[in-house]
């Protein structure tokens, strides 16, 4: 008793807090025995210290098997789910969900969500989060970080790194009573028993530590502030180049001039963009060569396709289209396709998809063509009207956009119209790069429908569709948006502003129904397009050659 009291000067301090009793044992065996006895006596809040691992000590002191593996395993399972979901979401597989729309980008032609590509990321997420769980879980389970331990105040305790074997029983333990525990410890073979205390004032966080934390915390704020500032900076200097050789690479941008190497341009024609070597075909271009109907509007096997390049390659048009007159003079008439290519035909023959392609064509026409040609195809789009107005003021030499109902256009085969859209004619620019071939055909479906609607008679409307209309449609109730049908005359509509054209379909529908009701033989008002667009588009594909055929149908 007496010797154990005279250990540490800090223990004698009045204002100190008592933590527990530290018992020293002579050798590992007596420590294990002491631990064992303490555990039998019901102590739980205790810890043993020795300079080296002692076999059997964890059993003697009653240390439970660590829960860390279970924690890590659970975290790994969650990380697996997280990894799956992360990519599920970022790949845009949840595209239709309002909360997590994601980023649906097609990469390498792989499915939007494909497990094999995601497994490496899932694996990485599992490894990362498992490592975090192991590292921080260990800290938490061990009560770390522990900046100070009152045991360190005990001089004797320093021997725990050389030859001391210690058992520490905390005051907080349920069975703890200072005198009783001290007696027990000595009874179990302790060489000495010390009170472990720490002065209360030293239990507070010291001022310099608070200051340090404050400084670190304010330094942490610096990067976000800098980033925030940088977002609104008006600094005129160009940004810093961290990797100059990545920012400025030796490569030609599209439409650049050829780089100069040793004083000469790298390419003799001074262009960076190269033509394909003769006799080669770029990936995906083979179909364009082989399917002349679909991609060029030219009948199979015609002279147009005997060269090794389709006509509409960029380098071709660059060379020919800079001189408008030259282009016009080269405007040879080819063996134009007189009916729609089979891809379009097969779609048209089905009712629903035929209607879909008609709608697509109308929508594309509105987007690309209506600016000049007008919504109804009379060549009175806003751009064209403006150009004509400038003409009157002698400020421009605008060429009026062609009306779709110009007799010359009316007589053109579909292949010729396709070529016009693809390569442009006169002032009209080529649209092949803006409008994919299938959409060009869709536009032609729409154009042909409009053309047929000008000259169609009741006979052009299929019998069943006619009856249907006759029985079901009440023209006055059917139109929701149409103005009264005074615009029945297409001549009148012709002179109207293009703005009125967007209601034309509905108008025409009304007109047609009315015409049928009266059984009038006014061919110009029977708008078969509006009456049954799907049928009429189908017909247009079939009858389209009849634009030139001598069949003498009233439509022609």
């Amino acid at each position: 008793m007496a010797e154990s009291n005279a250990i540490n000067e800090s223990n004698t301090s009045e204002s100190s807090e008592f933590f527990g009793l530290l018992a020293r044992y002579e050798n590992p065996d007596s420590l294990v025995n002491g631990c064992h006895q303490a555990r039998l006596a019901g102590y739980t809040k205790m810890d043993a210290f020795s300079p080296f691992p002692v076999h059997g000590i964890d059993g003697a002191i009653g240390i439970q098997k660590t829960k860390l593996p279970i924690i890590v395993f659970c975290v790994a399972l969650m990380a697996c789910g997280l990894g799956v979901f992360l990519q599920f979401y970022t790949n845009g597989y949840t595209n239709h969900s309002p909360i997590f729309p994601g980023y649906p980008f097609k990469i390498s032609g792989k499915p939007m969500y494909s497990l094999p590509a995601n497994i490496p990321v899932i694996f990485e997420v599992i490894v990362l989060l498992s490592a975090f769980a192991a590292f921080f879980g260990m800290w938490i389970l061990n009560g770390l970080p522990k900046l100070a331990n009152p045991l360190f105040r005990n001089q004797e305790f320093r021997r725990s790194t050389s030859d001391g074997f210690f058992l520490f029983i905390e005051k907080a333990d349920g069975s703890f009573s200072e005198t009783g525990t001290r007696g027990e410890l000595q009874q179990w073979g302790a060489v000495s028993v010390d009170r472990i205390t720490a002065p209360e004032d030293e239990l507070q966080v010291p001022g310099y530590a608070k200051l340090g934390i404050l400084i670190v915390a304010s330094l942490i704020l610096v990067p976000p502030v800098v980033i925030y500032r940088a977002q609104y900076t008006k600094n005129p200097l160009p940004r810093m180049h961290v990797n100059p050789d990545m920012d400025r690479q030796f490569r030609g941008q599209t439409q650049d001039a050829s780089p100069i190497v040793n004083g000469n341009p790298l390419f003799a024609d001074d262009r960076v963009m190269r033509k394909d070597p003769p006799g080669t075909i770029a990936r995906g271009e083979l179909a364009r060569l082989e399917d002349s109907m679909f991609y060029h509007g030219v009948k199979e096997g015609s002279a147009e396709m005997t060269g090794d390049k389709p006509k509409d390659l960029i380098s071709h048009s660059v060379e020919t289209a800079d001189d408008k007159e030259k282009a016009e003079s080269q405007d040879v008439e080819l063996d134009w396709a007189e009916e729609f290519p089979r891809q379009i035909k097969s779609v048209l023959s089905a009712n629903a998809s035929g209607m879909a392609i008609y709608n697509r064509g109308k929508q594309r026409f509105d987007v690309y063509c209506s600016a000049c040609h007008g919504y109804a195809g009379y060549g009175d789009g806003h751009v064209s009207n403006r150009g004509m107005a400038l003409n009157k003021q002698q400020k421009a030499e605008w060429v009026q956009a062609k009306s779709m109902f110009d007799p010359k256009v009316m007589s053109q085969p579909v292949g010729r119209i396709f070529d016009t859209i693809t390569n442009g004619r006169g002032a009209m620019a080529p649209y092949r790069s803006q409008i994919p071939a299938a959409d060009r055909w869709a536009i032609i479906v729409f154009v042909k429908s409009m053309q047929i609607s000008k000259t169609a008679t009741e006979k052009d409307v299929p019998q069943d569709a006619r009856l249907q209309r006759w029985e079901q449609v009440d023209p006055l109730k059917n139109d929701q948006t149409t103005p009264p049908p005074e615009a029945a005359d297409s001549e009148a509509a012709d002179s109207e502003a293009g703005q009125a054209e967007k209601n034309k379909a509905e108008k025409n529908k009304a007109e047609k129904n009315k015409a049928e009701k009266n059984k009038a033989e006014k061919g110009k008002t029977a708008e078969s397009k509006a009456a049954s667009p799907e049928k009429s588009t189908e017909e247009s594909s079939n009858k389209e050659p009849s634009a030139e055929s001598p069949s003498g149908e009233p439509g022609n």
Partner: protein, 415 residues
């Protein structure tokens, strides 16, 4: 030993009879030796299986010496004995060797290796670049070189180790350790090319630089599973009962676990790169193995679970790694799936038709009956293999009794 050989021989003969009697395995009308071809493929599966175990055990011997591992002294002799049958295994390879090398570029010569088929070579331009390498003579020579290198290496370590049993000289240990480093390099090159030749060239159009690693990962896993199994069987008979402790099992199980996952990692790396690049010259190999109608997709899924997921979770815990009875079952499980892995590598090529289209195709599906015959043949080959091992074990002590660090190994404790 005799019983083992006898059992193995009976099973092999039974399997041959089974194949010969069980029906028509001909792929095409011109293919007159259909059942023999089917038998040879099945034989090759099991041969590669036992060979890979010995190769894996040779790796264990090398790595134990190379790392100067103390714990593994008690199991090193077992690995030495198993690896020392590599050269005798050449006898088992003789049927394939003779047919391929002396059959030449003919119908018979291409019974197993289709690159010997003139029709196939003519119809596949890509084969022009591989003709010289995959020629019967050069192939035979290479196989002999592989067996010689690996076999001599195994004999060397075995011999030195046995010599130490008498003298107990420490210099022998250091000598083995010194030799193990260059031997490891030689081993790596040999195994790479051997796996190319023996298994990957079954699909000569296909190529994967990951294949040798795949082979090696499976082989090493099989070796550790075999060591666990053999230790268990010996201890069940009271041999080495006190020498191999649960701490040694713990380490062997840890290494099995590591190579289970390494196998999965390599297998997936190989698959994903080919899947992602999506080049027909490479994908056809996996496409056939992922075909549900042919049934190979089922085997692939079985491998994914049986060779990776189930053992991964099954031998993850410390307590099961220290449980000998549990590991006994686990090692048999692992060995079965290691065999199935070779089945999956070899057997789909049976369907490869000689015309050499990218899609290997035939009317033949594995069929459960044929699979049983494959299993019987596998058991038979394993019987002969076990006989060879018993013959090699002979009167040698099953642990290096005079190794200077044997005591350290016997007292080894896993933390």
């Amino acid at each position: 030993m005799i019983r083992s050989f006898g059992f193995g021989a009976v099973m092999v003969v039974a399997a041959i009879l089974g194949f010969a009697l069980s029906g028509n395995y001909s792929i095409s009308d011109t293919d007159s030796h259909g059942w023999f071809k089917r038998f040879l493929f099945s034989y090759h599966v099991s041969f590669c299986f036992v060979l890979s175990i010995s190769v894996g055990c040779l790796f264990v011997v090398l790595i134990l010496n190379l790392t100067r591992a103390g714990w593994g002294i008690v199991i090193r002799r077992l690995a030495e004995i198993i690896s020392s049958v590599i050269l005798p295994l050449l006898i088992l390879f003789l049927p394939i060797f003779l047919i391929t090398v002396f059959g030449g570029r003919s119908d018979l010569g291409s019974t197993l290796y289709i690159w010997n088929n003139p029709e196939f070579l003519n119809s596949n331009e890509i084969m022009n670049h591989k003709l010289d390498f995959l020629s019967p003579g050069w192939f035979g020579l290479r196989v002999l070189i592989y067996f010689t290198i690996l076999g001599m290496m195994a004999f060397f370590f075995m011999g030195r180790s046995v010599k130490q049993d008498d003298s107990g000289a420490k210099s022998i240990s250091t000598g083995m350790q010194r030799a193990s480093a260059p031997c490891m390099i030689l081993f790596a090159f040999t195994v790479v090319f051997a796996s190319f030749d023996l298994e990957m060239s079954l699909a000569p159009r296909w190529f994967s630089t990951m294949f040798p690693v795949y082979f090696f990962a499976g082989a090493t896993m099989g070796a550790f599973a075999t060591l666990i199994l053999v230790s268990n069987l010996l201890q069940n008979r009271g041999i080495l009962a006190d020498d191999i402790t649960e701490d040694h099992y713990h380490d062997m199980a840890k290494l099995s676990f590591a190579f289970v996952f390494f196998w999965g990692y390599v297998a997936f790396s190989q698959f994903m790169l080919i899947w992602y690049a999506n080049i027909p010259e490479e994908t056809f190999w996996f496409r056939y193995r992922l075909d549900w109608q042919k049934g190979w997709a089922i085997v692939s899924i079985m491998l994914l679970f049986g060779h990776l997921f189930i053992p991964f979770l099954g031998i993850m815990s410390r307590s099961v790694r220290r449980n000998r009875q549990y590991l006994f079952g686990a090692s048999i499980f692992l060995l079965f799936f290691h065999w199935l892995d070779h089945y999956w590598l070899v057997m789909p090529q049976f369907g490869a038709v000689t015309s050499g289209h990218i899609t290997v195709d035939s009317n033949e599906a594995p069929g459960i009956m044929a699979f049983f015959l494959d299993l019987i043949l596998g058991v038979g080959i394993c019987g002969i293999y076990a006989g060879l091992i018993f013959w090699r074990a002979g009167d040698k002590p099953l642990i290096p009794v005079s190794d200077p660090r044997l005591v350290e190994s016997l007292n080894f404790k896993n933390p």
